[in-house]
Protein backbone atom coordinates (compact mmCIF):
# COMPACT_ATOMS: atom_id res chain seq x y z
CA UNK A 1 0.00 0.00 0.00
CA UNK A 2 1.49 3.33 -1.05
CA UNK A 3 1.67 6.44 1.09
CA UNK A 4 -0.81 8.17 -1.22
CA UNK A 5 -3.31 5.35 -0.75
CA UNK A 6 -2.95 5.62 3.04
CA UNK A 7 -3.44 9.38 2.78
CA UNK A 8 -6.63 8.94 0.78
CA UNK A 9 -8.02 6.78 3.54
CA UNK A 10 -7.30 9.23 6.36
CA UNK A 11 -9.66 12.23 6.58
CA UNK A 12 -7.79 15.49 6.10
CA UNK A 13 -4.49 13.78 5.24
CA UNK A 14 -4.43 15.12 1.68
CA UNK A 15 -5.13 18.65 2.91
CA UNK A 16 -2.37 18.26 5.48
CA UNK A 17 0.02 17.13 2.74
CA UNK A 18 -0.93 20.15 0.62
CA UNK A 19 -0.44 22.43 3.61
CA UNK A 20 2.97 20.90 4.24
CA UNK A 21 3.93 21.58 0.62
CA UNK A 22 2.82 25.18 0.94
CA UNK A 23 4.88 25.65 4.08
CA UNK A 24 7.91 24.42 2.16
CA UNK A 25 7.10 26.75 -0.75
CA UNK A 26 6.56 23.81 -3.13
CA UNK A 27 3.08 24.79 -4.30
CA UNK A 28 2.54 25.88 -7.90
CA UNK A 29 1.63 29.43 -8.89
CA UNK A 30 1.46 30.23 -12.57
CA UNK A 31 2.75 33.37 -14.27
CA UNK A 32 -0.62 35.13 -13.97
CA UNK A 33 -0.88 34.39 -10.27
CA UNK A 34 -3.31 31.43 -10.24
CA UNK A 35 -2.80 29.18 -7.24
CA UNK A 36 -4.56 25.84 -8.01
CA UNK A 37 -4.00 24.45 -4.52
CA UNK A 38 -5.54 27.50 -2.89
CA UNK A 39 -8.57 27.05 -5.14
CA UNK A 40 -8.93 23.43 -4.03
CA UNK A 41 -8.55 24.54 -0.39
CA UNK A 42 -11.41 26.99 -0.89
CA UNK A 43 -13.59 24.38 -2.60
CA UNK A 44 -15.57 23.33 0.51
CA UNK A 45 -16.43 26.95 1.27
CA UNK A 46 -17.45 27.63 -2.33
CA UNK A 47 -19.58 24.46 -2.29
CA UNK A 48 -21.52 25.85 0.68
CA UNK A 49 -22.21 29.06 -1.18
CA UNK A 50 -23.13 27.79 -4.65
CA UNK A 51 -24.79 24.64 -5.95
CA UNK A 52 -24.05 24.59 -9.67
CA UNK A 53 -25.50 22.51 -12.49
CA UNK A 54 -23.60 22.54 -15.78
CA UNK A 55 -25.29 21.66 -19.08
CA UNK A 56 -23.40 21.16 -22.32
CA UNK A 57 -19.92 20.97 -20.76
CA UNK A 58 -18.88 18.61 -23.57
CA UNK A 59 -18.97 21.61 -25.91
CA UNK A 60 -16.02 23.17 -24.10
CA UNK A 61 -12.67 22.34 -25.69
CA UNK A 62 -10.75 19.81 -23.60
CA UNK A 63 -7.43 21.37 -24.58
CA UNK A 64 -6.40 24.72 -26.02
CA UNK A 65 -7.55 28.26 -25.50
CA UNK A 66 -11.12 29.54 -25.78
CA UNK A 67 -13.05 32.63 -24.73
CA UNK A 68 -16.20 31.96 -22.70
CA UNK A 69 -18.58 34.90 -23.08
CA UNK A 70 -21.07 34.92 -20.21
CA UNK A 71 -23.95 37.14 -19.16
CA UNK A 72 -24.07 38.89 -15.81
CA UNK A 73 -26.53 40.97 -13.91
CA UNK A 74 -24.75 42.45 -10.92
CA UNK A 75 -21.59 40.52 -11.65
CA UNK A 76 -20.65 39.45 -8.13
CA UNK A 77 -21.46 35.75 -8.23
CA UNK A 78 -21.18 35.05 -11.95
CA UNK A 79 -17.36 34.93 -12.30
CA UNK A 80 -17.07 32.57 -9.32
CA UNK A 81 -19.99 30.42 -10.48
CA UNK A 82 -18.57 30.09 -14.00
CA UNK A 83 -15.07 29.24 -12.79
CA UNK A 84 -16.26 26.71 -10.25
CA UNK A 85 -18.84 25.13 -12.54
CA UNK A 86 -16.44 24.68 -15.46
CA UNK A 87 -13.74 23.31 -13.16
CA UNK A 88 -16.18 20.82 -11.65
CA UNK A 89 -17.34 19.69 -15.08
CA UNK A 90 -14.07 19.66 -17.02
CA UNK A 91 -11.23 20.03 -14.53
CA UNK A 92 -10.05 23.16 -16.35
CA UNK A 93 -9.54 26.57 -14.76
CA UNK A 94 -11.28 29.64 -16.11
CA UNK A 95 -9.34 32.92 -16.08
CA UNK A 96 -11.92 35.63 -15.47
CA UNK A 97 -11.15 38.99 -17.03
CA UNK A 98 -11.50 42.22 -15.07
CA UNK A 99 -9.35 42.08 -11.95
CA UNK A 100 -8.36 45.53 -10.63
CA UNK A 101 -4.61 46.00 -10.45
CA UNK A 102 -4.49 47.30 -6.89
CA UNK A 103 -2.55 46.01 -3.92
CA UNK A 104 -4.31 43.41 -1.82
CA UNK A 105 -7.47 42.82 -3.82
CA UNK A 106 -5.80 42.33 -7.20
CA UNK A 107 -3.28 39.67 -6.14
CA UNK A 108 -5.96 37.93 -4.03
CA UNK A 109 -8.34 37.62 -6.99
CA UNK A 110 -5.49 36.53 -9.24
CA UNK A 111 -4.87 33.55 -6.94
CA UNK A 112 -8.37 32.38 -7.90
CA UNK A 113 -7.88 32.90 -11.63
CA UNK A 114 -8.59 36.59 -12.17
CA UNK A 115 -6.67 38.43 -14.90
CA UNK A 116 -6.40 42.01 -16.12
CA UNK A 117 -8.76 43.32 -18.76
CA UNK A 118 -6.22 43.88 -21.51
CA UNK A 119 -6.20 42.53 -25.03
CA UNK A 120 -2.56 41.48 -24.82
CA UNK A 121 -3.17 39.77 -21.48
CA UNK A 122 -6.09 37.79 -22.91
CA UNK A 123 -4.13 36.96 -26.08
CA UNK A 124 -1.25 35.65 -23.97
CA UNK A 125 -3.62 33.42 -22.01
CA UNK A 126 -5.21 32.07 -25.19
CA UNK A 127 -1.80 31.34 -26.71
CA UNK A 128 -0.96 29.46 -23.53
CA UNK A 129 -4.09 27.32 -24.02
CA UNK A 130 -6.17 28.76 -21.18
CA UNK A 131 -9.95 29.24 -20.92
CA UNK A 132 -10.76 32.92 -20.53
CA UNK A 133 -14.07 34.10 -19.04
CA UNK A 134 -15.26 37.35 -20.58
CA UNK A 135 -18.40 39.00 -19.19
CA UNK A 136 -20.84 41.00 -21.27
CA UNK A 137 -21.86 44.43 -19.98
CA UNK A 138 -23.98 44.46 -16.82
CA UNK A 139 -27.72 44.59 -17.33
CA UNK A 140 -29.14 45.15 -13.86
CA UNK A 141 -32.70 45.83 -15.05
CA UNK A 142 -33.48 42.40 -16.43
CA UNK A 143 -32.35 38.85 -15.86
CA UNK A 144 -33.64 37.88 -19.28
CA UNK A 145 -31.41 40.09 -21.35
CA UNK A 146 -27.75 39.65 -22.15
CA UNK A 147 -25.78 42.89 -21.95
CA UNK A 148 -23.88 44.36 -24.86
CA UNK A 149 -20.56 42.92 -25.98
CA UNK A 150 -18.08 45.45 -27.30
CA UNK A 151 -16.39 44.39 -30.50
CA UNK A 152 -12.91 45.25 -29.20
CA UNK A 153 -13.25 42.76 -26.37
CA UNK A 154 -12.96 39.88 -28.83
CA UNK A 155 -9.79 41.24 -30.45
CA UNK A 156 -7.65 38.68 -28.63
CA UNK A 157 -9.82 35.79 -29.85
CA UNK A 158 -9.60 37.08 -33.40
CA UNK A 159 -5.84 37.62 -33.15
CA UNK A 160 -5.22 34.09 -31.92
CA UNK A 161 -8.01 32.37 -33.87
CA UNK A 162 -9.45 30.95 -30.64
CA UNK A 163 -13.07 29.76 -30.49
CA UNK A 164 -15.62 31.88 -28.63
CA UNK A 165 -18.10 29.92 -26.54
CA UNK A 166 -21.39 31.56 -25.45
CA UNK A 167 -22.32 30.63 -21.88
CA UNK A 168 -25.58 31.49 -20.13
CA UNK A 169 -25.66 31.76 -16.34
CA UNK A 170 -29.00 31.49 -14.57
CA UNK A 171 -29.36 32.16 -10.87
CA UNK A 172 -30.04 34.79 -8.24
CA UNK A 173 -27.29 36.90 -6.67
CA UNK A 174 -28.35 35.83 -3.15
CA UNK A 175 -29.46 32.37 -4.10
CA UNK A 176 -27.57 29.12 -3.99
CA UNK A 177 -28.84 27.34 -7.10
CA UNK A 178 -27.15 28.27 -10.36
CA UNK A 179 -27.27 26.74 -13.82
CA UNK A 180 -24.59 27.09 -16.47
CA UNK A 181 -25.55 26.36 -20.06
CA UNK A 182 -22.72 26.08 -22.55
CA UNK A 183 -23.45 26.79 -26.20
CA UNK A 184 -21.75 25.71 -29.39
CA UNK A 185 -18.36 27.35 -29.98
CA UNK A 186 -18.24 30.08 -32.61
CA UNK A 187 -15.01 30.02 -34.60
CA UNK A 188 -13.64 33.34 -35.85
CA UNK A 189 -13.26 33.59 -39.59
CA UNK A 190 -9.76 33.22 -40.98
CA UNK A 191 -9.98 36.52 -42.88
CA UNK A 192 -10.36 38.85 -39.94
CA UNK A 193 -11.45 42.43 -40.45
CA UNK A 194 -13.62 45.08 -38.85
CA UNK A 195 -16.80 43.45 -40.17
CA UNK A 196 -15.70 39.96 -39.11
CA UNK A 197 -15.13 41.24 -35.57
CA UNK A 198 -18.53 42.91 -35.49
CA UNK A 199 -20.28 39.80 -36.82
CA UNK A 200 -18.48 37.58 -34.34
CA UNK A 201 -19.56 39.79 -31.42
CA UNK A 202 -23.15 39.84 -32.68
CA UNK A 203 -23.27 36.09 -33.30
CA UNK A 204 -21.92 35.35 -29.83
CA UNK A 205 -24.28 37.76 -28.11
CA UNK A 206 -27.30 36.37 -29.96
CA UNK A 207 -26.25 32.80 -29.14
CA UNK A 208 -25.85 33.78 -25.49
CA UNK A 209 -29.29 35.43 -25.50
CA UNK A 210 -30.91 32.32 -27.03
CA UNK A 211 -29.23 30.08 -24.44
CA UNK A 212 -30.40 32.34 -21.62
CA UNK A 213 -34.01 32.37 -22.87
CA UNK A 214 -34.03 28.57 -23.12
CA UNK A 215 -32.47 28.14 -19.70
CA UNK A 216 -34.66 30.56 -17.76
CA UNK A 217 -37.53 28.87 -15.92
CA UNK A 218 -40.94 29.57 -17.43
CA UNK A 219 -42.27 31.14 -14.22
CA UNK A 220 -39.15 32.89 -13.02
CA UNK A 221 -40.79 35.03 -10.35
CA UNK A 222 -42.23 32.01 -8.59
Amino acid sequence: MTLDAIRRGVPGATSAAHLGRRLRGRNEIDEWGLDPELVSFADPVLALRWDIEVRGAERLPSVGGAVLVFNRRFGLSEPWVLARGVRQATGRFVRTVGVPDIAGLGPFLRRFGGVLDRTDEIAGLLRAGQLVGLATERDVRSRERVGTLEVQRLDAALATGSPVVPVALVGRELGRQWTIVVGDPVHPRASAGPLAALELAEDVRQADQALLEDALPSSWWF
Partner: protein
Protein backbone atom coordinates in the same frame (compact mmCIF):
# COMPACT_ATOMS: atom_id res chain seq x y z
CA UNK B 1 34.35 35.05 -37.18
CA UNK B 2 35.62 37.89 -35.00
CA UNK B 3 33.53 38.36 -31.88
CA UNK B 4 33.63 41.35 -29.57
CA UNK B 5 32.35 40.61 -26.06
CA UNK B 6 31.79 43.54 -23.75
CA UNK B 7 31.31 42.81 -20.08
CA UNK B 8 33.77 39.93 -20.26
CA UNK B 9 34.74 40.50 -16.63
CA UNK B 10 31.31 39.51 -15.39
CA UNK B 11 30.15 35.99 -14.61
CA UNK B 12 28.09 35.92 -17.79
CA UNK B 13 30.73 37.57 -19.96
CA UNK B 14 33.47 35.16 -18.90
CA UNK B 15 31.25 32.14 -19.44
CA UNK B 16 30.15 33.40 -22.86
CA UNK B 17 33.82 33.97 -23.74
CA UNK B 18 34.59 30.36 -22.77
CA UNK B 19 31.69 29.14 -24.91
CA UNK B 20 32.92 31.23 -27.83
CA UNK B 21 36.44 29.89 -27.37
CA UNK B 22 35.10 26.37 -27.65
CA UNK B 23 33.38 27.20 -30.95
CA UNK B 24 35.57 26.54 -33.98
CA UNK B 25 33.68 29.09 -36.06
CA UNK B 26 35.02 31.86 -33.83
CA UNK B 27 38.48 32.87 -34.99
CA UNK B 28 39.22 35.85 -32.74
CA UNK B 29 37.67 37.16 -29.52
CA UNK B 30 38.17 40.57 -28.02
CA UNK B 31 36.91 41.26 -24.51
CA UNK B 32 36.30 44.63 -22.90
CA UNK B 33 35.24 45.32 -19.34
CA UNK B 34 35.86 47.32 -16.21
CA UNK B 35 36.77 44.17 -14.28
CA UNK B 36 39.12 41.33 -15.28
CA UNK B 37 37.59 37.97 -16.29
CA UNK B 38 36.39 35.80 -13.43
CA UNK B 39 37.84 32.58 -14.82
CA UNK B 40 40.68 31.58 -17.08
CA UNK B 41 40.28 32.60 -20.70
CA UNK B 42 42.25 30.68 -23.27
CA UNK B 43 42.31 32.42 -26.61
CA UNK B 44 40.47 35.64 -25.92
CA UNK B 45 42.23 38.98 -25.79
CA UNK B 46 41.05 41.07 -22.85
CA UNK B 47 41.35 44.83 -22.35
CA UNK B 48 40.37 46.58 -19.18
CA UNK B 49 38.58 49.80 -20.14
CA UNK B 50 36.95 52.32 -17.83
CA UNK B 51 33.42 53.11 -19.03
CA UNK B 52 34.33 56.80 -19.29
CA UNK B 53 37.43 56.12 -21.41
CA UNK B 54 35.64 56.52 -24.71
CA UNK B 55 38.77 57.00 -26.82
CA UNK B 56 40.32 53.74 -25.74
CA UNK B 57 37.06 51.83 -26.23
CA UNK B 58 36.48 53.30 -29.70
CA UNK B 59 40.07 52.62 -30.78
CA UNK B 60 39.95 49.01 -29.62
CA UNK B 61 36.65 48.32 -31.35
CA UNK B 62 37.67 49.95 -34.64
CA UNK B 63 41.04 48.21 -34.71
CA UNK B 64 39.41 44.85 -34.04
CA UNK B 65 36.67 45.36 -36.67
CA UNK B 66 34.24 42.81 -35.18
CA UNK B 67 31.79 40.76 -37.21
CA UNK B 68 29.57 40.05 -34.21
CA UNK B 69 29.16 42.26 -31.14
CA UNK B 70 27.91 40.61 -27.95
CA UNK B 71 27.18 43.58 -25.74
CA UNK B 72 26.92 42.19 -22.21
CA UNK B 73 28.43 45.28 -20.59
CA UNK B 74 25.36 46.05 -18.51
CA UNK B 75 25.99 46.94 -14.89
CA UNK B 76 23.23 45.88 -12.53
CA UNK B 77 22.85 48.23 -9.54
CA UNK B 78 24.33 46.72 -6.38
CA UNK B 79 25.64 43.73 -8.28
CA UNK B 80 29.29 44.79 -8.33
CA UNK B 81 28.88 48.57 -8.61
CA UNK B 82 26.86 51.28 -6.91
CA UNK B 83 23.57 52.36 -8.58
CA UNK B 84 25.08 55.59 -9.92
CA UNK B 85 28.19 53.86 -11.28
CA UNK B 86 25.99 51.18 -12.81
CA UNK B 87 23.74 53.70 -14.56
CA UNK B 88 26.57 55.87 -15.88
CA UNK B 89 28.78 52.91 -16.81
CA UNK B 90 26.01 51.17 -18.72
CA UNK B 91 25.20 54.31 -20.71
CA UNK B 92 28.84 55.13 -21.44
CA UNK B 93 29.69 51.61 -22.65
CA UNK B 94 26.61 51.41 -24.84
CA UNK B 95 27.25 54.72 -26.58
CA UNK B 96 30.98 54.34 -27.11
CA UNK B 97 31.18 50.64 -28.00
CA UNK B 98 28.01 50.25 -30.04
CA UNK B 99 28.65 53.63 -31.66
CA UNK B 100 32.14 52.54 -32.69
CA UNK B 101 30.91 49.13 -33.84
CA UNK B 102 28.37 50.79 -36.16
CA UNK B 103 31.22 52.20 -38.25
CA UNK B 104 33.08 48.89 -38.55
CA UNK B 105 32.93 47.58 -42.15
CA UNK B 106 32.83 43.89 -41.21
CA UNK B 107 29.96 44.14 -38.71
CA UNK B 108 27.23 41.57 -39.38
CA UNK B 109 25.12 41.51 -36.23
CA UNK B 110 24.68 43.01 -32.76
CA UNK B 111 23.40 41.12 -29.73
CA UNK B 112 22.66 43.10 -26.57
CA UNK B 113 21.80 41.91 -23.12
CA UNK B 114 18.55 43.40 -21.93
CA UNK B 115 16.02 42.34 -19.33
CA UNK B 116 12.34 41.96 -18.57
CA UNK B 117 12.68 45.11 -16.45
CA UNK B 118 12.29 47.14 -19.68
CA UNK B 119 8.55 46.31 -19.73
CA UNK B 120 8.07 47.97 -16.36
CA UNK B 121 5.52 47.03 -13.72
CA UNK B 122 3.24 50.07 -13.66
CA UNK B 123 -0.37 49.61 -12.61
CA UNK B 124 -2.31 47.83 -15.33
CA UNK B 125 0.82 46.56 -17.08
CA UNK B 126 0.44 43.12 -18.69
CA UNK B 127 1.33 40.30 -16.30
CA UNK B 128 3.15 38.23 -18.90
CA UNK B 129 4.22 40.52 -21.75
CA UNK B 130 5.49 39.18 -25.03
CA UNK B 131 8.00 40.93 -27.26
CA UNK B 132 5.35 43.17 -28.79
CA UNK B 133 4.52 44.78 -25.43
CA UNK B 134 5.31 48.43 -24.94
CA UNK B 135 8.67 49.28 -23.36
CA UNK B 136 7.85 51.45 -20.34
CA UNK B 137 10.48 50.83 -17.67
CA UNK B 138 9.61 51.73 -14.10
CA UNK B 139 13.01 51.22 -12.45
CA UNK B 140 16.45 52.78 -13.08
CA UNK B 141 17.85 49.42 -14.19
CA UNK B 142 14.99 48.98 -16.64
CA UNK B 143 15.62 52.48 -17.99
CA UNK B 144 19.31 51.70 -18.43
CA UNK B 145 18.56 48.59 -20.45
CA UNK B 146 15.90 50.33 -22.52
CA UNK B 147 18.53 52.96 -23.36
CA UNK B 148 21.01 50.27 -24.38
CA UNK B 149 18.39 48.70 -26.65
CA UNK B 150 17.68 52.08 -28.21
CA UNK B 151 21.38 52.77 -28.84
CA UNK B 152 21.81 49.27 -30.29
CA UNK B 153 18.87 49.74 -32.67
CA UNK B 154 20.33 53.07 -33.83
CA UNK B 155 23.74 51.45 -34.31
CA UNK B 156 22.13 48.58 -36.21
CA UNK B 157 20.25 50.96 -38.49
CA UNK B 158 23.42 52.94 -39.17
CA UNK B 159 25.34 49.78 -40.01
CA UNK B 160 22.44 48.00 -41.71
CA UNK B 161 22.74 44.90 -39.52
CA UNK B 162 20.20 42.99 -37.40
CA UNK B 163 20.04 43.72 -33.67
CA UNK B 164 18.91 41.08 -31.20
CA UNK B 165 17.91 42.35 -27.77
CA UNK B 166 17.94 39.33 -25.49
CA UNK B 167 15.54 40.28 -22.70
CA UNK B 168 16.47 37.90 -19.94
CA UNK B 169 14.55 37.28 -16.74
CA UNK B 170 16.44 38.19 -13.57
CA UNK B 171 19.50 35.96 -13.64
CA UNK B 172 20.19 33.90 -10.57
CA UNK B 173 22.68 31.16 -9.97
CA UNK B 174 24.97 29.68 -7.35
CA UNK B 175 27.89 31.97 -8.17
CA UNK B 176 26.54 35.03 -9.95
CA UNK B 177 26.62 38.30 -7.94
CA UNK B 178 22.94 39.20 -8.21
CA UNK B 179 21.11 41.48 -5.75
CA UNK B 180 17.97 39.33 -5.74
CA UNK B 181 20.03 36.17 -5.20
CA UNK B 182 21.88 37.71 -2.26
CA UNK B 183 18.63 39.03 -0.81
CA UNK B 184 16.82 35.71 -1.01
CA UNK B 185 19.72 34.05 0.78
CA UNK B 186 19.36 36.23 3.88
CA UNK B 187 18.19 34.27 6.95
CA UNK B 188 15.07 36.46 7.24
CA UNK B 189 13.53 37.64 3.96
CA UNK B 190 11.08 40.55 3.93
CA UNK B 191 8.12 39.78 1.67
CA UNK B 192 4.72 41.31 0.94
CA UNK B 193 2.30 38.38 1.27
CA UNK B 194 -0.76 40.55 0.57
CA UNK B 195 0.39 42.19 -2.63
CA UNK B 196 3.11 40.00 -4.05
CA UNK B 197 2.86 38.72 -7.59
CA UNK B 198 4.89 35.88 -9.07
CA UNK B 199 8.20 36.33 -10.84
CA UNK B 200 10.24 34.14 -13.17
CA UNK B 201 13.98 33.66 -13.05
CA UNK B 202 16.68 32.46 -15.42
CA UNK B 203 19.70 30.34 -14.63
CA UNK B 204 23.04 31.93 -15.53
CA UNK B 205 24.04 29.01 -17.78
CA UNK B 206 20.79 29.28 -19.76
CA UNK B 207 21.38 33.00 -20.19
CA UNK B 208 24.88 32.34 -21.58
CA UNK B 209 23.55 29.70 -23.99
CA UNK B 210 20.90 32.17 -25.15
CA UNK B 211 23.49 34.88 -25.87
CA UNK B 212 25.67 32.47 -27.84
CA UNK B 213 22.70 31.15 -29.83
CA UNK B 214 21.61 34.72 -30.59
CA UNK B 215 25.09 35.56 -31.89
CA UNK B 216 24.69 33.06 -34.74
CA UNK B 217 21.01 33.38 -35.57
CA UNK B 218 20.94 37.09 -36.43
CA UNK B 219 17.35 37.59 -35.40
CA UNK B 220 16.24 41.19 -35.79
CA UNK B 221 14.23 42.28 -32.75
CA UNK B 222 13.80 41.48 -29.08
CA UNK B 223 13.54 37.99 -27.62
CA UNK B 224 12.35 37.13 -24.12
CA UNK B 225 14.36 34.40 -22.41
CA UNK B 226 12.59 33.19 -19.28
CA UNK B 227 12.62 30.10 -17.15
CA UNK B 228 9.17 28.44 -17.31
CA UNK B 229 6.95 28.78 -14.25
CA UNK B 230 6.99 31.38 -11.52
CA UNK B 231 7.34 31.77 -7.78
CA UNK B 232 6.45 34.45 -5.26
CA UNK B 233 8.93 35.96 -2.81
CA UNK B 234 7.34 34.04 0.05
CA UNK B 235 7.61 30.78 -1.84
CA UNK B 236 11.25 31.38 -2.71
CA UNK B 237 12.10 32.16 0.93
CA UNK B 238 10.31 29.03 2.14
CA UNK B 239 12.02 26.88 -0.47
CA UNK B 240 15.36 28.02 0.91
CA UNK B 241 14.25 27.39 4.53
CA UNK B 242 14.40 31.14 5.15
CA UNK B 243 11.96 33.00 7.38
CA UNK B 244 9.57 35.15 5.35
CA UNK B 245 8.87 38.37 7.24
CA UNK B 246 5.70 40.23 6.18
CA UNK B 247 6.28 43.87 5.26
CA UNK B 248 3.79 46.41 3.92
CA UNK B 249 4.11 49.84 2.28
CA UNK B 250 6.64 52.09 4.02
CA UNK B 251 7.97 49.06 5.92
CA UNK B 252 9.95 48.24 2.78
CA UNK B 253 12.28 51.17 3.49
CA UNK B 254 13.22 49.66 6.82
CA UNK B 255 13.47 46.19 5.30
CA UNK B 256 15.75 47.49 2.53
CA UNK B 257 17.96 49.27 5.09
CA UNK B 258 18.18 46.11 7.22
CA UNK B 259 19.05 44.03 4.16
CA UNK B 260 21.75 46.52 3.18
CA UNK B 261 23.25 46.31 6.66
CA UNK B 262 23.52 42.56 6.13
CA UNK B 263 25.30 43.02 2.81
CA UNK B 264 22.34 42.47 0.50
CA UNK B 265 21.14 45.90 -0.68
CA UNK B 266 17.79 45.86 -2.43
CA UNK B 267 17.75 48.05 -5.57
CA UNK B 268 14.39 49.35 -6.86
CA UNK B 269 14.09 46.75 -9.63
CA UNK B 270 14.58 43.90 -7.14
CA UNK B 271 11.97 45.32 -4.80
CA UNK B 272 9.63 45.82 -7.76
CA UNK B 273 10.15 42.17 -8.66
CA UNK B 274 9.27 41.01 -5.14
CA UNK B 275 6.10 43.09 -4.93
CA UNK B 276 4.83 43.54 -8.48
CA UNK B 277 6.21 40.35 -9.99
CA UNK B 278 8.17 39.94 -13.21
CA UNK B 279 7.34 37.34 -15.83
CA UNK B 280 7.14 37.25 -19.61
CA UNK B 281 6.11 35.06 -22.49
CA UNK B 282 9.32 33.32 -23.54
CA UNK B 283 7.84 31.09 -26.26
CA UNK B 284 9.31 33.09 -29.17
CA UNK B 285 12.74 33.12 -27.54
CA UNK B 286 12.66 29.36 -27.03
CA UNK B 287 11.52 28.79 -30.60
CA UNK B 288 14.05 31.11 -32.26
CA UNK B 289 17.05 30.31 -30.07
CA UNK B 290 16.26 26.61 -29.70
CA UNK B 291 16.93 26.58 -25.96
CA UNK B 292 14.91 25.16 -23.07
CA UNK B 293 15.73 27.18 -19.93
CA UNK B 294 15.51 25.49 -16.54
CA UNK B 295 12.18 26.01 -14.74
CA UNK B 296 12.08 28.86 -12.22
CA UNK B 297 11.51 26.43 -9.33
CA UNK B 298 14.71 24.62 -10.24
CA UNK B 299 16.61 27.91 -10.47
CA UNK B 300 15.48 28.82 -6.94
CA UNK B 301 16.48 25.39 -5.64
CA UNK B 302 19.93 25.75 -7.20
CA UNK B 303 20.31 29.16 -5.59
CA UNK B 304 20.13 27.52 -2.17
CA UNK B 305 22.12 24.41 -3.07
CA UNK B 306 25.43 25.45 -1.57
CA UNK B 307 26.88 21.99 -1.99
CA UNK B 308 27.37 22.67 -5.69
CA UNK B 309 29.94 25.38 -4.97
CA UNK B 310 33.28 23.60 -5.23
CA UNK B 311 36.01 24.93 -2.94
CA UNK B 312 39.46 24.02 -4.22
CA UNK B 313 42.37 24.40 -1.83
CA UNK B 314 45.17 26.61 -3.26
CA UNK B 315 47.81 24.05 -2.29
CA UNK B 316 46.35 21.52 -4.70
CA UNK B 317 47.22 23.73 -7.62
CA UNK B 318 44.13 22.63 -9.49
CA UNK B 319 41.96 24.99 -11.45
CA UNK B 320 38.28 24.54 -10.70
Amino acid sequence: MRVLITGMGGELGTRVANLAEADERVTEILGIDLFPPRRRIFRSEFHRVEPGDRRKAVRLVRDFDPEVVLHLGIFEPHSRTSPTEARLGTRAYAVSILGAAASCPSLQSIVVRSGLEVYGRRRGAPSRPDESAEVVPTSPFGESMAHVEQVAVEAGEAAGVPVTAVRVAPIVGPSIPSPIGRYLRLPVVAVDPISELPFSLLHQEDACQAFMAAAWLRHDGPLNVVGPGAVTGTQAALMGHRIPFPVFGPGWRIAAAMAELQGAPLPPHARELLVRGCTADGSLGREVLGIEPRPTHEVVEQLYRWSEVAHVAPAQGVVA
